[in-house]
């Protein structure tokens, strides 16, 4: 299985503060990979380093090519969809406009993509004129996924999808992520604090601590790992 | 402690230079230097308001107009001593500032800026309407005109006095309250700072300073107060001076005042430029370039230099 995404010794800083101290990881094509860790471990920063939202040093290789250090719009054009903390929803615009924006980098007709999206999220069609900011948390998360899907990316970067959602919704969100991965072949790198559900959904995972990779491996292994169980799974 | 000693030392040195300077200058240059002093006072006022309490005002030309007309009218009608008229201007503009500051409490950021801009544009129209008392477009002529040396002396003495006044206000409890307001209104209120009082006070003080600058301005234009002198361009000039000065530093104010006081006339001496319009082109260009290079004004530059020097000192001591 080829690696779709490779990070080699990536560091990132916010002004004078270094948040990542040399992170290396790999995401295979067609995989779902999780990044776990406590608050402040650098999980969000890792995603930001990949999409170019934050300045980074080190090498990021995507689909065989090195990503240059330009802004997030370049990453989007290369086929990376980043759903950030806060979901990146355009709250003032309506649902339909949010979806159209998701497809911004695509040329040609997006009608087929819209149809697929409506299959996954039928309620989006009825609510297409509703202002996105008035959707509930769970609906906004779904909208974010739908928007990312409209981009037809090769890689989906998901930042803490479970944040602020009730457990039933979290399960639903991850179910859809798995379906997108299996049915559409979408590679996913998901950052999560909810280690339990992340390990269930992912084939492999990385555990970050203070800006470095502390552990990595197949999910099944990690789920049994002593320190992971104690720190992140609660038993 | 070291900084304060350096501060007082520089201030003393500056005072000595200023006191001796006029004797080395021609009358024309004395007048120019007096004008710089005038702008110094005006920018100082604006700095107190915007730099220290964060309320943006583009209306100080209006307060200058009020101060200037106070001087001219008092002089014309009552032959009042000119220095006394400055005190009157201070008092009157302080009250006007309070009056403006009260409704300003309801406005934030750019809305406040535009409201004050509106004020600045409207005030010069008042003498046109009430031309019987305020001279209309013909203006008001003071009873007495002053010599260049006298004006230089009064301008810079006033500047020094007001500088010290500003310094005293800003280092005390009021100044701390001002800075608290600028940095976070929510935090300031939670700490017991009564916002309305301090914000309005800042407006009053700032306006008073501008009023005195207006008096000096009128004295500098042959004692003649005219609506066309106090148009938008004046408020914009003060604003540019304050931006070049950088907000929050009393020393940058001197740089800002020198910039707007000297540049137009200096550039007209350069042979290529000549006409007034050439001056404007140069002035505009230089303003733009300065802002591109020094977005935080001279104050920002000084702060950066201080930081580099501090870092250098630290490194040296290891």
């Amino acid at each position: 299985m080829t690696a779709l995404l490779e990070l080699e010794d990536v560091t990132a800083r916010y002004g004078p503060i270094e948040a990542l101290h040399g992170v290396s990881l790999e995401v295979g094509e067609g995989q779902v990979v999780a990044v776990l860790g406590a608050n402040g471990a650098g999980k969000t920063t890792t995603l930001r380093a990949i999409s170019g939202t934050v300045r980074r040093e080190g090498i990021v290789r995507f689909a065989g090519r090195t990503l240059s250090r330009t802004g997030p719009d370049a990453a989007a054009r290369s086929g990376i969809a980043h759903v950030p903390e806060g979901r990146g929803t355009f709250a003032e615009l309506n649902v339909a406009e949010n979806l159209r924006l998701g497809a911004y980098t695509r040329r040609g007709s997006i009608r087929d993509d819209l149809a697929r999206v409506h299959q996954y999220f039928p309620w989006l069609e009825e609510r297409r004129n509703q202002q996105a900011g008035t959707l509930s948390g769970g609906e906004q998360q779904m909208l974010a996924l739908a928007r990312a899907f409209m981009q037809r990316p090769k890689l989906l970067l998901l930042d803490e999808p479970s944040l602020g959602l009730a457990p039933l919704l979290v399960t639903e969100v991850f179910r859809i992520v798995k379906e997108l991965n299996e049915a559409e072949g979408l590679t996913v790198l998901v950052v999560e604090q909810n280690a339990h559900i992340a390990l269930q959904a992912a084939q492999a995972a990385y555990v970050l601590e203070v800006g470095r990779v502390a552990l990595s491996g197949p999910s099944a292994e990690l789920a049994q790992h002593e320190s992971v169980r104690r720190s992140y799974l609660g038993y | 402690m070291r900084v304060r000693a350096a501060g007082i030392g520089t201030a003393a040195a500056a005072a000595v230079v200023l006191a001796l300077l006029p004797f080395a200058l021609s009358a024309y240059h004395q007048a120019l230097a007096a004008q710089v002093g005038t702008f110094f006072v005006a920018i100082l006022g604006l700095n107190i308001l915007t730099g220290y309490t964060g309320q943006i005002s583009i209306g100080h030309g209006a307060f200058m107009a009020i101060g200037g007309y106070t001087t001219a009218v008092l002089s014309r009608d009552h032959h009042t001593n000119l220095v006394l008229t400055m005190a009157a201007a201070f008092a009157i503009c302080f009250c006007c500032g309070l009056l403006v500051g009260l409704p300003a409490l309801r406005l934030a950021g750019v809305y406040l800026a535009l409201a004050t801009f509106a004020f600045a544009v409207s005030v010069p129209q008042v003498p046109l309407k009430f031309s019987k008392y305020l001279g209309g477009s013909g203006g008001v002529q003071s009873a007495k005109t002053v010599g260049h040396l006298w004006l230089y002396g009064v301008s810079w003495t006033t500047a020094a006095v007001l500088f010290v006044l500003a310094w005293l206000i800003l280092r005390g409890r009021t100044g701390r309250a001002f800075r608290a307001v600028r940095d976070s209104e929510v935090a300031a209120t939670s700490s017991g700072v009564q916002l309305p009082v301090y914000k309005t006070l800042a407006f009053g003080i700032s306006a008073a300073f501008a009023g005195v600058a207006g008096s000096l301005f009128v004295m500098g234009t042959n004692g003649f107060a005219q609506p066309s002198e106090f148009g938008i361009l004046l408020s914009l000039q003060i604003l540019v001076g304050a931006a070049v000065a950088g907000l929050g530093s009393l020393w940058g104010v001197l740089a800002g005042a020198a910039f707007i006081g000297l540049l137009p006339t200096v550039s007209s001496d350069v042979p290529l430029i000549g006409s007034t319009h050439g001056q404007d082109v140069v002035f505009g260009l230089i303003v733009i370039v300065i802002m591109l290079l020094l977005p935080n004004g001279v104050a920002g530059l000084l702060a950066r230099l201080a930081r580099t020097r501090a870092r250098g000192l630290n490194r040296g001591s290891i």
Partner: protein, 334 residues
């Protein structure tokens, strides 16, 4: 599938619209008043139409200001002077033998390019550093353009060909000038074209997204910086339209042409709410009509007091509704 989600998280919050009910009611009442006035008095009707035409010019420039403010939170003090320079460019084209409408459209194209260039060269370097710095750059630009125009063409009055002539129409007993209708058509037409661009095209959507949420826009692939540049270009075009329509009859051209209009445009933009394009248009038209009617019927308000009066009213509105008539309530109040 997400019927589950549907069942669980459904609490539709009321969207925070900018237009509150009292404001709408007041505007509706004003419209009714105007209509009744027009029907009862010829002079009223004539002043209203003239006021609308003038107001449309203010609205166009106000819209330019709002476009830029929405995208970059900056007040472009040079907007009026940029518009004035555009008019001089049109003047020059006419001197070179172009027909009026040829000159008109070429000028708009030049304004578009100039707006983009100014944003890229002068604004982009400072826009992230300090808001004050950007404002001062626009002030410097104001002075620079003023100087350049005076230097190249001189400050004396020039006469320019007028697009609409002096023809008068008679609707019943009311006299309406062709130029007023022409002004209204052109300015409102430009605003409509722009509206269509923003609402119905991909580019317009991207520009709105870049203005509202630049970080999120970048993530979906929008080149935010270029969207801002195009925004400046379009604002410059609106300004040029305002300038060209500023005196549609005997066109008297001098460098101070746009200065009073800029002030009324500021008033209109603030009145309507700085973040509201619709507000800018409504504000402009309102000020135009209101000032004309007041000037006609209230004798204390002579021409010198027009400007202070407009601002007094503006300040009055701001005291009651600090973010303007159609603005969203974003006032910081502790």
């Amino acid at each position: 599938m997400s019927a589950l989600a549907h069942r669980i998280g459904l609490r539709r919050r009321r969207s925070d619209r900018g237009v509150s009910l009292p404001v709408l009611a007041a505007l509706a009442a004003a419209c009714v008043f105007i209509v009744i006035g027009c029907l009862s008095s010829n002079i009223f009707a004539e002043q209203t139409v003239a006021g609308l035409a003038q107001g449309a010019v203010y609205a166009s420039l106000a819209l330019a200001l709002v476009l830029i403010y929405r995208a970059t939170e900056v007040i472009n003090f040079a907007q009026g002077e940029m518009a004035m320079a555009s008019v001089y460019i049109a003047y020059q084209l006419l001197q070179w033998g172009f027909s009026y409408w040829e000159a008109f459209f070429v000028t708009l194209a030049v304004a578009l390019v100039l707006g983009i260039v100014i944003q890229v060269v002068l604004i982009r370097p400072v826009q992230h550093k300090s808001v004050i710095a950007v404002v001062i750059v626009t002030v410097g630009l104001f002075i620079l353009i003023d100087g350049l125009v005076n230097w190249k063409w001189g400050g004396d009055i020039k006469f320019m060909q007028a697009p609409f002539g002096n023809k008068l129409y008679h609707v019943g007993a009311v006299t309406i000038a062709r130029q007023d209708i022409g002004t209204l058509v052109i300015t409102i037409g430009s605003v409509l074209i722009l509206w269509i661009l923003f609402q119905y095209t991909k580019l317009g959507l991207a520009m709105r997204a870049a203005a509202l949420r630049p970080a999120a826009a970048a993530l979906v692939g929008v080149r935010v910086d270029w969207m801002l540049a195009i925004g400046w270009g379009l604002a410059a075009v609106l300004g040029a339209v305002a300038g060209l329509m500023a005196e549609p009859s005997q066109f008297v051209l001098q460098p101070t042409l746009m200065q009073p209009i800029l002030l009324y445009a500021f008033a209109a933009a603030v009145l309507g709410g700085l973040e509201s394009p619709a507000g800018a248009v409504v504000g402009g038209l309102t000020i135009g009509v209101f000032l004309n009617l007041v000037g006609q019927y209230v004798h204390f308000i002579t021409s010198e007091l027009r400007l202070p009066f407009a601002f007094a009213v503006l300040l009055g509105v701001l005291v009651v509704k600090p973010t303007g008539l159609l603005g969203r309530g974003k006032v910081r109040k502790v």
